[in-house]
């Protein structure tokens, strides 16, 4: 048993489940959110590719609530394609963000990893995992949290952290506070040493003991904060990071790259654009090019799947993503949009600030557009699976659920 033997590293990606994240509807009605494509690749591919760049990475675990068969095909194909071992572990019931990790500790610790990365699938960022690992090894704590600076006004949507400017120790952590605490927020990307499991177990046992001792008054019992949680339900933020802040256990590492949460379809369009910009920097050959002579005119960052057919008189981009088997007709204009698999966009149609769902059909001279405000509910027009927009119809700032036919123009509407 030599101390010089190289230990491996594993990564855990939390992927959520079908009844979670209802904000991603209607796109999540037919497809699990982690498989929704951003810049031409399923959402979960992006953190998986980032994990692949970590030295000594032994295994990636996806933890979630989706039925195994939904993920089985995907997991085996991504394993083959990226040549990285990926396993899906299905949670039988909610355990909280830390409890989920603890629930699968035996599998995660199978190869005695020295470090465990924890990532959330619905985070869009550059995943500087090697830098995070290096920083963590210099701090020598139980865990290091990736943080980013945001505007003070938006900080309260997230977990706010206060860190020591010299040692980078986590001094204070609070989740979605009402008053301003800090403009540094939790990115949802962490690295831990295996003692994290001991800390989680500590919370579980403490809660179990307290439950038997404490008698709560009936008024207190009504307050949501005091609603007793089962002992195996442990939240990373409130139950681990907050209490252990200031005890030289956790540290922070700040990134200055882009960071967004992918909670809504509108944000997925924005994040697709961020990843397209990342490809421009790191793998520009993935992006399309063309000047309108032999191929369609391309402006800005555009992804076109090799099986998609785009007429040379179409103009595509900036920030457009076209998926497999899509057909883009003559004279079509696409700006800031995601065109999903098997979509047909007929001649002279215009799509701006929209997501067009799988197998949909966009009629000739029709117009599908929105204001482009990724943060408002109707700021990006979303067409679900198999939606037909008839010729010359205009759909603005609207959401259309799957299998509908739009034969009259609409604005600011949700079509069930």
């Amino acid at each position: 048993m030599g101390g010089s033997e190289e230990r491996v590293v594993v990564a855990v990606i939390m992927v959520g489940g079908p009844t979670k994240g209802t904000r991603f509807r209607p796109l999540s009605l037919n497809t699990p959110k982690p498989l929704f494509p951003l810049a031409g690749q399923p959402m979960v591919n992006h953190p998986i590719s980032a994990c692949k760049r970590i030295p000594n990475l032994a295994q990636i675990y996806l933890i979630g609530f989706y039925e195994e068969r939904e993920f089985a095909l995907f997991v085996s194909s991504i394993s083959n394609e990226l040549r990285v071992p990926v396993r899906y572990l299905k949670e039988d019931k909610p355990h909280g963000s830390a409890g989920g990790l603890y629930n699968f500790r035996d599998q995660i610790m199978e190869e005695s990893p020295s470090h465990i990365f924890l990532l959330n699938c619905d985070v869009c960022c550059s995943f500087p995992l090697a830098d995070l690992l290096e920083a963590h090894m210099s701090y020598r704590g139980m865990g290091t949290i990736l943080v980013i600076k945001v505007s003070p006004e938006s900080a309260n949507q997230f977990g706010e952290l206060v860190a020591d400017p010299v040692t980078n120790e986590l001094l204070h952590y609070t989740e979605k506070p009402e008053t301003f605490v800090s403009d540094r927020i939790n990115c949802g990307v962490y690295i831990f040493t295996p003692d994290i499991f001991t800390a989680i177990q500590g919370v579980s046992s403490q809660r179990k003991d307290r439950a038997t001792l404490r008698r709560v008054s009936s008024f207190e019992a009504l307050q949501p904060a005091n609603r007793s949680l089962p002992s195996d339900f442990v939240r990373l933020d409130q139950d681990i990071l907050s209490p252990l802040a200031g005890k030289k256990q956790f540290y922070v590492y700040e990134t200055t790259d882009y960071w967004e949460q992918i909670k809504t379809p509108g944000m997925s369009l924005k994040c697709s654009g961020l990843y397209l910009a990342q490809f421009r920097r790191t793998s520009p050959d993935l992006l399309a090019s063309g000047d309108g002579t032999k191929n369609a005119a391309i402006s800005g960052n555009v992804y076109i799947h090799p099986s998609a057919k785009v007429h040379p008189t179409a103009k595509i981009g900036p920030n457009a993503s076209i998926s497999a088997n899509a057909r883009i007709g003559a004279g079509v204009r696409l700006v800031n949009c995601i065109i999903l698999d098997d979509v047909e966009v007929k001649e002279n149609a215009v799509v701006i600030h929209a997501i067009v769902g799988w197998k949909s059909s966009i009629g000739r001279w029709s117009r599908v557009q929105a204001s482009g405000d990724h943060n408002t509910k109707l700021g990006v027009t979303i067409l679900g699976e198999s939606v037909t927009v008839e010729d010359e119809v205009v759909v603005i700032n609207s959401i259309v659920l799957p299998n509908k036919t739009m034969n009259v123009s609409v604005q600011e509407e949700i079509i069930l």
Binding site: T22, R23, R25, L401, P402, N403, I414
Partner: protein, 361 residues
């Protein structure tokens, strides 16, 4: 005898309920919609029912296995790979509908709720000796539909008029047909409309007859009509003095309560309410003109009217839910919340009031 039920497509008008189950399996008066039709067919001796579907066949087939056994009737599916309209599916199911007996077969539309006087329809069909019989029903606003103009005394159909601009008659196609096998020879396997292409031809040959549907009729394919349909259906139960209707000091008007449902003290239920299996209605609750589906819990002092509460949802204490609120499966309305016409997709929690009709995704 055989029958075909046109089940059709995605049921988008009944969303959010149809986001959880295909439309024929949405409960109406505590029973899946399509079961009302299958039971009526079984009662007059139909031995085989073919469902013409084009969506989620696996879900339908699983469900049907249960009912095939319980009802002792053969149920098969005929799946369209492309939409075939209202007549095409008959051609697709041809082999299942015709046998050596040469008997006529029924065709029903799955969205329709009515008394299903199928025995009377068989007699009507025999007496006129024509090729096809259809049920027609009287409506207040015939221009919304296709009007059937008939000869008063015999019921022979003279012509069909689609959405007439001037009044030509007040009887519309009720979506219940009894057809001789020879009708199938007129239908090609392609998208075809039975009202626009097939029936007008048969009428022109003087071989199509219409019978006025006695009793109620409703197309319950959308929430507003679903609620009206429940009122009509419960009213027809009352006319038959059905023992299924609930009684008690806490019941007003026509109310259906599944035997496994529990109702607390001090409630006032009705009129026109259906409470499904396993529901728990706590004390002090007021329910009127609403459907409460399987496994729902209505907490104390809540008040619900003119709404549909989807499977396994909960409505909080002192909540007020009204004006065509439709809750999908597993929706939880918190205590003291007001919903005025909220349409809520499955697996949501409503923590703040919905003051005017709105879709919550």
């Amino acid at each position: 005898m055989k029958a075909l039920i046109l089940v059709g497509g995605f049921g988008t008008r009944l969303r959010p309920l149809t986001l959880s189950v295909p439309k024929p399996l949405v409960d109406f008066a505590n029973k899946p919609m399509i079961l009302h039709q299958i039971e009526a067919l079984k009662a007059i001796g139909v031995t085989e029912v073919v469902l013409a579907i084009n969506y989620q066949p696996e879900v339908m087939l699983n469900f049907l296995k249960d009912f095939e056994a319980k009802l002792e009737i053969k149920i098969t599916c005929s799946q369209e790979t492309e939409p075939l309209g209202t007549a095409g599916p008959l051609a697709l199911a041809r082999d299942k509908l015709i046998d050596e007996s040469g008997e006529p077969f029924f065709v029903l539309n799955s969205d329709v709720i009515s008394e299903y006087p199928l025995k009377e329809m068989i007699e009507f069909h025999k007496s006129h000796g024509g090729e096809a019989s259809i049920m027609v029903t009287k409506v207040d606003e015939p221009s919304k539909y296709g009007v059937v103009v008939t000869e008063e005394s015999t019921g022979k159909v003279e012509r069909f008029v689609e959405k007439p601009k001037l009044f030509v008659g007040n009887k519309i196609n009720a979506g219940i047909y009894l057809l001789n096998p020879s009708v199938l020879d007129r239908i090609q396997l392609r998208p075809t409309s039975i009202e626009k292409e097939i029936f007008p031809k048969i009428a022109a040959e003087g071989k199509l007859y219409a019978m006025v549907l006695p009793g109620f009729w409703m197309d319950i394919g959308q929430p507003k009509d679903y609620i009206t349909g429940l009122r009509l259906y419960l009213d027809s139960l009352r006319k038959k003095a059905s023992p299924k209707l609930a009684t008690g000091t806490h019941i007003i008007g026509n109310v259906l309560v599944d035997e496994s449902a529990k109702i607390g003290e001090g409630c006032l239920i009705g009129p026109d309410v259906a409470i499904g299996p396993g529901c728990v209605v706590e004390s002090g609750v007021r329910l009127s003109c609403c459907t409460v589906m399987r496994g729902v819990r209505i907490k104390k002092h809540a008040c619900i009217s003119s709404s549909i509460i989807g499977w396994h949802s909960t409505v909080g204490q002192w909540a007020r839910v009204e004006n065509m609120t439709i809750l999908g499966e597993d929706v939880h309305v918190c205590d003291e919340i007001y919903s005025n016409g909220g349409v809520v997709l499955p697996h949501k929690e409503i923590k703040s009031s919905i003051l005017k009709p709105e879709i919550v995704m």
